[in-house]
């Protein structure tokens, strides 16, 4: 770990100003906010993140969960994953988010992890985390050993020749299905970015993962109320029963009216380089009847563009089964 300066602040504007001198808010940033620290400190110990300056934002007033006038939610960036998952309104009105959060990490980690930090957690690609290897995401242009190497857990959707790393988050998958909006404060003021526009595909610049600029602070995540009659489910598949990142996961929010699907939002985890909105599957399902056959067709559509690597071909089928089962669960009469 490199020596670094450590500052604390209770003022949002000061935090932003303090971070704004960095050249980038992406890989290699010289200033970093630290929230729960469960991603950042881990990577600093591995010398993958080498900031000169840490700005502790835990004292900012961003720890509230508030309902909005239309029945949605405004979630402060510092709300802990465990508090969010166990919040009564989240459990009753956004259970898919609660389920996704509780499927992630461990109780101890969830107690530390924050909403903002979770949005920005980094890939678990083993090469990214080991500085003795090349990695385009960590050192642009150095190469991607994962493509020929250890790629069992890596992505099959949204990959490029430069990078196939998975976005490992569970929470982000639910937020993607819920069409969350991310509120950002920066040097130029406040702005709102739909989550669908927040992440960037790796393309030839895998070190740039999202739209954040130096000084940008995520302040809130805002959710609209789910359409009336919505049912939802989050399903996570992995090797062991708990405390492991997803091999495949699916978050579905669906409205069914007399056997017909009148609306659906679906996102996939564990398979995409970013939290993956399954737009093609949604198209197949829109207006279709809620049958297993149609679910399977939707799953086929969702994985149509999948590009498996040497070790992760199984994820194509696994992801399809995950989608079908999540849809079955969400549309079952007891859901």
């Amino acid at each position: 770990m490199k020596l670094f300066a450590f500052t604390k602040t209770a003022e949002i504007s000061e935090a932003i100003k303090n971070a704004a001198d960095a050249e980038t808010a992406q890989q290699g940033a010289h200033s970093r906010f630290v929230a729960g620290g469960t991603t950042l400190l881990d990577l600093m110990k591995l010398n993958v993140e080498t900031p000169d300056k840490l700005i502790d934002i835990n004292r900012l007033d961003l720890s509230k969960i508030e309902t909005t006038r239309d029945g949605g939610l405004s979630i402060g960036a510092l709300v802990r994953n465990s508090d969010l998952a166990n919040h009564p309104y989240v459990k009753s009105h956004f259970s898919v988010l609660s389920e996704a959060l509780l499927a992630g990490a461990s109780a101890q980690l969830r107690n530390m992890a924050t909403t903002g930090g979770n949005l920005l957690q980094r890939t678990r690609c083993v090469y990214f985390r080991d500085t003795t290897f090349a990695c385009n995401k960590r050192e642009p242009g150095s190469g991607c050993p994962a493509i020929e190497g250890e790629n069992r857990t890596l992505a099959i959707l949204g990959t490029s020749d430069s990078c196939i790393a998975t976005n490992p988050s569970d929470m982000n998958v639910a937020l993607m299905a819920l069409d969350a909006t991310i509120k950002i404060s920066g040097m130029k003021g406040e702005r709102e970015v739909p989550i669908a526009e927040f992440y960037r595909l790796p393309g030839s610049t895998p070190h740039i993962e999202n739209v954040l600029q130096p000084g940008d602070l995520i302040t809130h995540v805002v959710l609209k109320a789910m359409p009336a009659g919505s049912k939802s489910a989050y399903l996570k598949l992995r090797d062991r029963a708990s405390y492991e990142f997803a091999l495949a996961s699916a978050a579905v929010v669906v409205q069914v009216n007399s056997g017909k699907i009148t609306g659906v939002q679906m996102a996939l985890g564990g398979v995409g380089t970013i939290p993956w909105r399954a737009a093609e599957a949604e198209k197949v399902l829109a207006g279709a009847s809620a049958t297993e056959d149609n679910f399977r067709k939707a799953a086929e559509a969702a994985l149509q563009a999948a590009k498996p690597q040497t070790q992760n071909k199984f994820k194509v089928e696994l992801s399809k089964r995950c989608i079908v089962h999540a849809l079955k669960t969400a549309t079952s009469p007891t859901a």
Partner: protein, 739 residues
């Protein structure tokens, strides 16, 4: 089922809480890295980031200038370290024979090339990272395909296995693979070395304080008397701490150089690289049987990977030679050298990977024969150890199977693949046998009776978490008839009478006779003191008329209640304490007269939810006959722990070596998957306690390893029953079942 009659107040066989439990739960048990000394420095190794090649240059200039740094040591400045000559008595052996920094050649990724020493761990870590090492790098060989490279060795042979195989009515010819596994003990390997100019005191994480002392003395080039090794509590070993690893010699050598106490705690990553692992094995099993299921031929040819300069053999054929009756058998072994750190024993070495292969193959044979796999075992039950042509000392494998079958409900099994269901899940039921050696290491024990009414037992063994403290107290309590809380157990120190290595599941069996003899000796000394002490009431009585019962000295012809407590006699005679020593010998011999083993059987149920490819172990019944169980509480804990490890072996664990650099890639506990609580169902454990009195008077054998043996095969057999997919390479992964 207890075959011994016992005194009702004897602690032997009574479920007993660990006597060291309070120390552990209050955090006051001193583990190795808990030791701190004034002026102590922290050392952090710098490891090679290539697996094959040589060191060109070690540039320490930046690192040396960093805050708190006291030195960067490597081949040219650490001082001389010597090799250890392997010896057949197992009292000075190390798996990695090359002392650290011996030459500039790098033979595996993670080999230590230097060490940074500083005032704090953080400073030393930063300095280690700042050391720049340049290498001449060659492509490493960490190839997963294993072939016997320098010929095969015939391990056991009888009849003509090939001829019988060719003629057999039913044949199985399959290859089974078990991956490299890393022990991943909770307590990381560490050393705290203190050197006073003459003597070394080494606090170590070791499963053998005496062996560790002898090895380190040789490496440092000093007499064993000037080295003392302490290991009071261990956060487990699983075989990974049987022999010293190179960080230990580095700590001692730096302490010698700087005359300061030195602490090294290796990282989890280093533990994957340079502190041993179970090597990968590739095992071809060929079975021939007649149409009734009698085995006519058994061939087991196995190869394991080993390091470039250490020939570690994983004895996969260990159990094959005696487990079932078969007139024609041939077992061969071979080694494949790889640019990987030195392998080492891992809980149940040999038997564990070996039984995965043979017990899977037997299941495949039973399916071909359309025969119940339990019946196949019964048919092929031998009447003697056919490998050595000697009788069994105790063999109750079929009892284990039958008891397990009854507890599990095996008779309700429908053999058709995928036919059994519960709650919409497919069920798979599988079984497999287990076996493990039952021998003794040599042991010496000292017992004291003290004038405060307490007793002490001491020996240079160690408690690796299995409950040795408690077992020693129980045995002495039984021998002396003194309450457990009046007994002090002192172990974990190489200056004590040499005790057994915690390896091979033999500590308990080895210690019992020695404790027993030491107790008899101390009682003799006590009786002698009684009749020679004028102040005591038995002065000048013929010692032959005297006896000892439960802490009391009395005449043989009077009840114990008429006697005097030993405490009073010692006080009266002005004795602070009296001492008795006992020893017992190793039972290993080239020509054993009896075949001594423990046996067991696992019954495993898996659930298979095909629509989401979810496989879980849902029910386990394990029956073990390991003779008398001294402490059923600790015993059960051993078997349950082994079964949990078995779930890991069957479904999750494997160390991946990256082909270009040879690095173990998943060298952390997020990427090396082990079972979590949610993966473990309720485990049912039963002991059949057929005693083996040849080993010791209670007939206790070992239980540390047998619980893992066979488990992976029982799981793979259950998976076949549920899915129709035969997995011959561990672990059983989702992708294998998603066909």
């Amino acid at each position: 089922m207890t075959a011994t009659t016992e005194k009702s107040n004897s602690p032997i066989g009574r479920a007993t809480n660990r006597i060291d439990g309070p120390l552990k739960v209050t955090g006051s048990a001193m583990y190795t890295s808990d030791h701190n000394f004034p002026g102590m420095l922290h050392a952090v190794p710098v490891f090679a980031t290539i697996a094959n090649g040589s060191i060109n240059k070690i540039d320490t200039s930046d690192a040396e200038r960093m805050p708190g740094v006291k030195g960067i040591f490597h081949r040219s400045n650490i001082g001389k370290l010597f090799r250890v000559a392997p010896n057949s008595d197992y009292n000075a052996f190390s798996d990695e024979d090359r002392p650290p920094f011996e030459d500039d050649i790098v033979r595996y990724y993670g080999q230590y090339v230097a060490v940074a020493v500083a005032e704090t761990l953080e400073q030393a870590t930063a300095a280690a990272h700042a050391v720049k090492v340049s290498y001449s790098e060659k492509k490493p060989n960490v190839d997963n395909k294993l072939k016997a490279e320098s010929g095969v060795k015939v391990e056991s042979e009888r009849g003509d296995a090939q001829k019988a195989y060719d003629a057999a009515a039913i044949k199985i010819d399959e290859t089974y693979i078990t991956p490299a596994e890393t022990h991943n003990v909770i307590e990381l390997h560490s050393s705290v070395a203190v050197f006073d100019g003459t003597n070394y005191t080494l606090y170590e994480t070791t499963q053998g304080v005496v062996n560790h002392r002898n090895v380190l003395a040789q490496m440092l080039g000093v007499e064993p008397e000037s080295v003392k090794v302490i290991s009071k509590f261990l956060g487990s070993g699983f075989g990974g701490k049987i022999t010293p690893w190179t960080h230990s010699a580095i700590a001692a050598a730096v302490a010698r150089k700087l005359r300061k106490p030195i602490k090294i705690v290796i990282t989890r990553k280093m533990a994957f690289q340079s502190a041993g692992h179970r090597p990968r094995t590739e095992q071809r099993v060929r079975l021939g049987a007649d149409s009734k299921g009698n085995l006519t031929s058994l061939q087991h040819d196995y190869v394991n990977h080993t390091a470039m300069i250490d020939e570690y053999k994983e004895e996969c054929g260990e159990c094959t030679k005696y487990l079932y009756s078969c007139p024609n058998l041939r077992i061969t072994s071979g080694l494949a050298k790889r640019h990987i750190g030195t392998p080492t024993p891992f809980r149940g070495p040999g038997a564990v990977p070996g039984l995965f292969a043979t017990e899977s193959a037997l299941d495949e044979l039973a399916i071909k024969l359309k025969m119940d796999p339990l019946q196949l075992r019964i048919i092929n039950e031998p009447v003697k150890d056919e490998g050595l042509n000697i009788p069994f000392a105790s063999r109750n494998l079929i009892d284990c199977f039958k008891t397990g079958a009854e507890k599990f409900g095996w008779s309700k099994r429908d053999p058709r693949v995928g036919s059994m269901k519960r709650d919409g899940l497919k069920l798979g039921w599988g079984l497999a046998g287990a076996s493990w050696i039952a021998e003794r290491w040599p042991a010496e024990v000292a017992v004291e009776l003290r004038d405060d009414g307490t007793a002490k037992v001491s020996t240079g063994t160690q408690d690796i978490g299995t409950g040795t403290y408690t077992v020693l107290a129980q045995v002495l309590s039984d021998k002396l008839g003194i309450a457990l809380d009046k007994i002090e157990v002192v172990i974990g120190d190489s200056t004590l009478p040499p005790g057994p290595l915690s390896g091979g599941s033999m500590v308990t069996a080895s210690l019992i006779p020695a404790v027993s003899k030491a107790a008899d000796k101390v009682i003799g000394t006590l009786l002698n003191a009684a009749v020679k002490t004028p102040e005591a009431k038995y002065f000048d009585v013929d010692q032959k008329e005297m006896t000892y019962t439960a802490g009391v000295v009395h005449r043989k012809n009077e009840p114990a209640s008429a006697g005097i407590s030993f405490q009073k006699i010692l006080s009266a005679g002005n004795f602070k304490f009296i001492l008795g020593k006992g020893s017992s010998s190793s039972t290993f011999t080239d020509k054993p007269k009896e075949s001594k083993h423990s046996y067991g059987a696992h019954f495993v149920e898996v659930t298979w939810q095909e629509e989401i490819a979810r496989l879980r172990v849902s029910r386990v019944v394990t029956v073990i006959d390991a003779g008398k169980i001294i402490n059923p509480k600790a015993g059960r804990n051993q078997i349950e722990g082994a079964v949990v490890m078995g779930i890991g072996m069957a479904l999750f664990e494997q160390t991946h070596y990256e082909p270009t650099k040879g690095a173990p890639l998943n060298s952390n506990l997020a990427d090396y998957i082990v079972p979590v609580n949610a993966d473990v169902p309720d485990l049912e454990v039963h002991f059949l306690e057929f005693p083996n009195k040849q080993l010791n008077e209670y007939g206790a054998r070992g239980i540390g390893e047998i619980g893992l043996a066979g488990f992976a095969a029982a799981t793979a057999n259950a998976v076949y029953h549920a899915t129709g997919i035969r997995i011959r390479e561990l672990p059983i992964k989702i992708e294998d079942l998603l066909r």
